[in-house]
Amino acid sequence: MNAIRVRGLKKAYKDHQAVAGVDLDVARGEVFAVLGPNGAGKTTSVEILEGHRDRDAGEVSVLGADPAKAGREWRAKLGIVLQSATDAANLTVREAVHHYAKYYADPRDPEEVIDLVGLTEKAKSRGGTLSGGQRRRLDVALGIIGRPELMFLDEPTTGFDPEARRQFWSLIKRLAAEGTTILLTTHYLDEAEALADRVAVLAGGRVVAEGTPQTLGGRAHADATVRWLSDRGHQEIRTAEPTKTIAELSRHGELAELTVTRPSLEDVYLELIA
């Protein structure tokens, strides 16, 4: 059984159709990224899956239950990492993690969790004094304390510096390696490429493409671009058979500055959401 199955999901706010018929399948143990520009319907969709928002239409099953009706036992299996929370400002990291551990039947060891997210040195600092990256790591700590089967991460690394992002990624990879199913939204393509087994691109409330980061939008089969420098200047050929093209070109001798490129995930993405 899939961890998440969505068919025909719709949600409108007044006149604005935020989600206009989304289908999604996320297998157990998978890391699934939802990409899309601001206003694409990512957060709305995820909040419906989390049970935080009503839907207008569609079938939704998350860990075998309908989020609109599921109860405590269901929520105990989820880990939700919030996007912009500033709560627990007057609790220390240690107090907050220990407190949230009490909500679950079989929580992880709070001290281990603090260590896992790299906040051991900040365990005695209050939430309100943490830097942006540390604050998000506290959010992750509170999200994983209950040993979730499924984690939701909504734009988890927005505002991180490059080093903090790398650290964060390795933490997510570690959780995924433990078998946790992860649904993450992001608008960083490198993040999706680094973490996700599969991605879906959302635009205008619909899924416009879905696949592995390597094959998204027909990327693997797209024409390659061969570029080189001749005495007439920079040359460029788009071809489905770059090996053959180069073989032919190189009969006349060495090709200066030769490169073969396929569209990057970013190229594909920008085309999809245009």
Partner: protein, 265 residues
């Protein structure tokens, strides 16, 4: 998979209460405004108005009433709005914690902070105005139930009204306005007998008047002072009835209006 049982609603509620208190007492503005304001008002207004012992008793009683409504109705309403604003409620909603536990935690917070506030106010009364504390167990029992019922009723209404306010900034207005008006209608600053009939009736519809009246029955030097009440008696039965009714109204309102976030639905 194993289905270990989740922790009970009450024990989680108490644990939330402990955490709420910890956060509350770490914020200096709470200590200054919520806990000390009634004592400060007592000191200021008492110095102006209180000329005799009996007046000190009555004034202190009314100020305790006004004080617990400030912590429960205004303070709690504000704290729920803040929880909605900073993500606390959203986070809690994503955990298996039942809503009732959240509310129990808030009641614990209000109960303990109101108690601190009442003790501080009584201390000011005793030290500065020679306030006499009741000596009979019966009076203290009345104090206990009026206090408890008042805290619960006003907490529920505060939480219900917090749903109207969109931000902490606007909550201060939504919650303080009725509170300040009610103080004048309920015999805190002005005796109800000095008010025109219509205003007196309006005040009698809300909990503050009854909480204050209940406390006045506790702190009056003797029961003869009941003649100064609007009805000429302490009406303790009616105090219980009105506060009980507001508790039920509050429960219904909270059930119907409570929002976990500013944007949900």
């Amino acid at each position: 998979m194993t289905t270990a049982t989740l922790p009970g609603t009450l024990s989680l509620g108490l644990s939330r209460g402990a955490t709420e208190l910890r956060e509350f007492f770490r914020q200096k503005e709470n200590l200054i405004f919520t806990i000390s304001l009634p004592a400060l008002l007592m000191l200021l207004l008492g110095t102006v108005y209180v000329k005799e012992a009996a007046a000190a008793q009555m004034f202190a009683a009314s100020m305790i009433g006004a004080g617990i409504i400030s912590t429960s109705f205004v303070g709690l309403g504000m704290s729920v709005v803040a929880d909605r604003e900073d993500g606390t409620l959203k986070r809690l909603r994503g955990t298996p914690m039942p809503f009732t536990s959240y509310f129990i935690g808030k009641i614990v917070l209000v109960f303990v902070s109101s108690l601190f506030e009442a003790v501080l106010l009584l201390a000011v009364g005793v030290l500065r105005f020679d306030l006499e504390l009741p000596t009979s167990a019966e009076k203290w029992l009345t104090f206990a139930w009026v206090f408890t019922l008042g805290v619960i009723a006003c907490s529920l209404i505060g939480v219900a009204l917090s749903s109207i306010a969109k931000s902490t900034r606007n909550a201060a207005g939504v919650l303080n306005l009725p509170y300040i008006v009610l103080q004048f209608l309920s015999g805190v600053f002005i005796m109800q007998t000095a008010l025109p009939e219509s205003l007196r009736t309006a005040g009698s519809l809300f909990p503050l008047k009854w909480v204050c009246q209940g406390f006045r029955s506790v702190f009056a030097l003797n029961d003869d002072y009941a003649v100064m009440e609007a009805a000429g008696s302490w009406e303790l039965g009616k105090v219980a009835l009105v506060l009980g009714a507001w508790t039920i109204v509050g429960l219904v309102l909270v059930g119907r209006t409570f929002r976990w976030s500013n944007t949900s639905r």
